[in-house]
């Protein structure tokens, strides 16, 4: 396992860093938030990102992607995390592309993936139903009715739900509420009758929606993957998503730390730079150590996915746990060390904390992943 980037990956990282710093810096996010535009991100920016090939990083070359792997996707998400750039990269480029790639039949792949790669199709994954990540707790029902399925249920925390063209729904076709078997995936156009999508205004001003399914009738050809065996694909995609969001959280925490360090080297009180105070220096050094551990966890997990390690799930939980704990520490300390400025809207540092708290909830918080790590380790 290599924990440093190869030349190609480093090239991508440098390109991504330059792109986000120049074309979508934090002020870009601030503009979008202030404008309150319904879409929640810039269509133009997503189009440029797709032209750069980033929408198709996890898509095979057969369907127009680059098949560059999680090291590539994670690296871009990390850079996007530093500038808080909102885009469909996570919901579409990582989750949607992975679901379609791993579960789709050749017809579905040919229909959706080339459009997705070009930036002309966005997706959302309707999975969660409660206040906690519980991927097998699915009570949304899909009942077979002749050549059709009828879907009923309520989905929450659907990232990009209100803006996506295609909603991929996890629904129960057999079994009890918490069974891992009997779960199936369905592709629904967002304008399907009976699909009620409501944008939810979130702390981080990013996109999330509630999706209610009321007697939604769809053809059996909308089934994505095998009937009743959707959970294996869901788990595989969740591992990727957990690592991807961890990479974004790493970028977020690294940047918040960087901004705070600069503040410590600039702000004077009692006639001296506040960075000379040991009470702040030691806390900064501890944050640095935790960031280094988090970086290793995230890179190790990206690698584990690309190498098809049989320990991917534990790697994913390690990455999400470390990313969660470290962003919690760094975001809180960053606000505190900024003093009064830290709690003003004018300063950017508060944005990092808001995004960190939302990201923490995406696909399992730290407690969830600590428990999962222990369970997977058989204790």
């Amino acid at each position: 396992m290599a924990l440093i980037l190869n030349e190609e990956q480093q090239f991508l990282k440098d390109a991504a860093s330059k792109f986000f710093q120049e074309d979508a810096p934090i002020s870009h996010f601030r503009e979008i938030r202030d404008s309150k535009i319904e879409l929640g991100y810039s269509k133009e920016l997503w189009s440029t990102m797709s032209d750069l090939g980033w929408a198709g990083i996890l898509v095979s070359e057969e369907y127009g992607g680059s098949d560059f792997g999680m090291m590539g996707m994670g690296t871009i998400l990390e850079e996007a995390g530093k500038t808080l750039t909102p885009s469909p990269l996570f919901a579409t480029g990582l989750i949607g592309a992975s679901l379609l790639e791993l579960a789709g039949n050749s017809e579905q792949k040919s229909e959706y993936l080339p459009k997705l790669v070009e930036g002309n199709l966005t997706t959302a994954f309707a999975l969660e139903e409660g206040t906690r990540h519980a991927p097998n707790n699915i009570s949304t029902e899909a009942k077979k009715d002749g050549d059709e399925f009828v879907l009923n249920g309520n989905k929450t925390f659907v990232l990009d739900g209100h803006s996506a063209d295609l909603i991929i729904v996890a629904a129960r076709t057999a079994g009890e509420a918490s069974d891992k078997s009997g779960i199936s995936l369905f592709c629904l156009n967002s304008n399907t009758d009976g699909l009620e999508i409501k944008k939810v205004s979130m702390l981080d001003s990013r996109n999330s929606a509630e999706v209610n399914l009321v007697n939604v009738k769809i053809s059996a050809s909308n089934l994505l993957g095998e009937l009743g065996n959707g959970f294996a694909v869901i788990e595989e995609v969740l591992n990727r998503a957990q690592v991807g969001i961890s990479a974004e959280m790493l970028g977020n925490a690294s940047q918040a730390f960087e901004i705070t360090l600069n503040y410590l080297k600039d702000r004077k009180q009692f006639g001296v730079l506040i960075g000379t105070f040991q009470a702040l220096q030691h806390r900064a050094a501890i944050m640095y150590s935790e960031l280094e551990l988090t970086k290793s966890s995230v890179v190790g997990a990206m690698n584990a996915i690309d190498e098809n390690s049989n320990d991917v799930a534990r790697f994913a939980s390690m990455a999400k746990y470390k990313a969660g704990e470290t962003s919690y520490l760094v975001s809180n300390e960053s606000v505190q060390m900024h003093g009064g400025y830290g709690v003003t809207d004018e300063y950017d540092i508060g944005f990092f904390m808001k995004r960190a708290r939302v990201a923490e909830q995406i696909f399992g918080n730290s407690d969830h992943h600590l428990d999962r790590y222990a369970t997977l380790s058989e204790y």
Binding site: Q281, A285, S296, A374, Y379
Partner: protein, 393 residues
């Protein structure tokens, strides 16, 4: 067959033929010296054979008695040693700390005199750094060395000298420039312990053991030729040596301090039991164990990454956190072992406790020094904040 494959095969065959059976079992390590003690005759055979090949110091140049191996070859040697469970042939501060400093700072004559002897374990070396008044502020040390003909005459006191009561020689920081600014008046001097001017007194620790001594110099002498790195240039040598020491200590965060102990999870299961799903039945302890396990892995990956970064370019800044994190992590590991053991973890003596339980309790006490020796955690955090983060003084 590539050269490295051939090396592996040769090494494998040599070890099969030369590593005595007794040395393939866990047990105590020989520290060499003028009057070496061997707990088993095989220990001497093993040391002699390894020293003969220079494999007690595999990567040192062969002209100084070392093995002359490349990093890659040494990795193979260590893997092959590990594969047969071979015991370390020689433990020595000469190998881990003094030798690397001599290779970098000593004259050719000094290297030829001291390095081959270290390879063979002819002397037991100890380290004379700290003084009663100079702990974290090491550069304030006051043990004096004054010129007298071909010798230096040394007066003063050192503390925390590991095994000084058993050691033959000491590498020592002494003040040779009393008028200079404190960092610029220090020299690095090698002193023979076997002389009337040197006395030692063991320090009893909270663990009940005495691995450290106080060492007293009363008109002790050392030949001028044994001053290493130049007069008043000892601080440079000292700093490099501290890096070697810190690397050695931070490795504890990975290995758990050298003692092979069963994992925290198994230990917890043994003492607190499991629920119907085979989970550690105390959920709070289970969470702490998982957190520690996960951090062990993240720390291991970080050390691996530091190694890779150093290989392709300059030393990784992340190396600075290794000593801080590794030692704090190791201390926490012992705290969790004690927590898991409950009342079996708080014994001192007697038959109510197993040998292992008593040993762990003593190791827990010993672990408290991890974040003090070789630079306290607070000093390490200072180093990170100043050298890595560039925070102002």
């Amino acid at each position: 067959m590539s050269d490295l494959q051939e090396f592996r095969e040769d090494t494998h065959n040599w070890l099969e033929a030369n590593c005595p059976p007794e040395m393939r079992k866990p047990g105590d390590v020989c520290w060499g010296g003028r009057n070496p003690s061997f707990s088993h005759p095989d220990q001497k055979i093993w040391l002699d054979r390894m020293a003969e090949k220079g494999w007690t110091c595999p990567t040192w140049p062969s002209e100084y008695g070392g093995g002359g191996l490349s990093k890659e070859e040494n990795k193979i040697l260590q893997e092959e040693l590990g594969a047969i469970g071979a015991r370390m042939a020689l433990g020595s501060f000469g190998i881990w700390m003094l030798g690397p400093a001599l290779l970098e700072f000593a004259t050719e004559e000094q290297k030829l005199e001291h390095l081959p002897a270290i390879v063979k374990g002819e002397f037991w070396w100890c380290q004379g750094y700290s003084e009663p008044g100079s702990g974290s502020d090491l550069a304030s040390l006051s043990t004096k060395a004054v010129e007298d003909g071909d010798n230096y005459v040394v007066n003063g006191q050192k503390i925390w000298t590991s095994n000084a009561d058993k050691a033959d020689k000491i590498f020592c920081l002494v003040r040779t420039g009393p008028q200079e600014p404190k960092h610029d008046g220090i020299s690095f001097l090698l002193i023979d312990m076997d002389q009337p001017g040197v006395t030692t007194k063991p320090i009893k620790l909270i663990s009940g053991k005495s691995p450290f001594c106080e060492t007293f110099f009363d008109d002790a002498t050392a030949p001028k030729k044994d001053l290493v790195g130049g007069l008043n240039k000892g601080w440079t040598v000292a700093k490099r040596l501290l890096e070697h020491e810190r690397t050695m200590i931070s490795a504890m965060g990975l290995s758990g301090g050298g003692e092979k102990r069963s994992g925290l999870a198994d230990m917890s299961k043994k003492y607190v039991g499991v629920d119907s799903n085979n989970r550690i039945s105390e959920t709070a302890l289970r969470a702490k164990v998982a957190k520690h396990d996960l951090n062990s892995r993240a720390f291991g990956l970080t050390m691996q990454r530091v190694g890779e970064e150093t290989k392709v370019g300059s030393p990784s800044p992340a190396a600075a956190m290794a000593k801080y994190y590794g030692t704090e992590h190791n201390k926490l590991r012992y705290e969790l072992m004690l927590e898991a053991m409950g009342t079996q973890g708080i014994g001192w003596d007697g038959e109510s406790f197993s040998m292992e339980e008593l040993a762990i309790t003593k190791e827990w006490l010993r672990s408290k020094a991890n974040s003090i020796e070789g630079g306290t955690s607070e000093v390490q955090l200072n180093v990170i904040s100043k050298r890595v983060l560039g925070l102002p003084s």
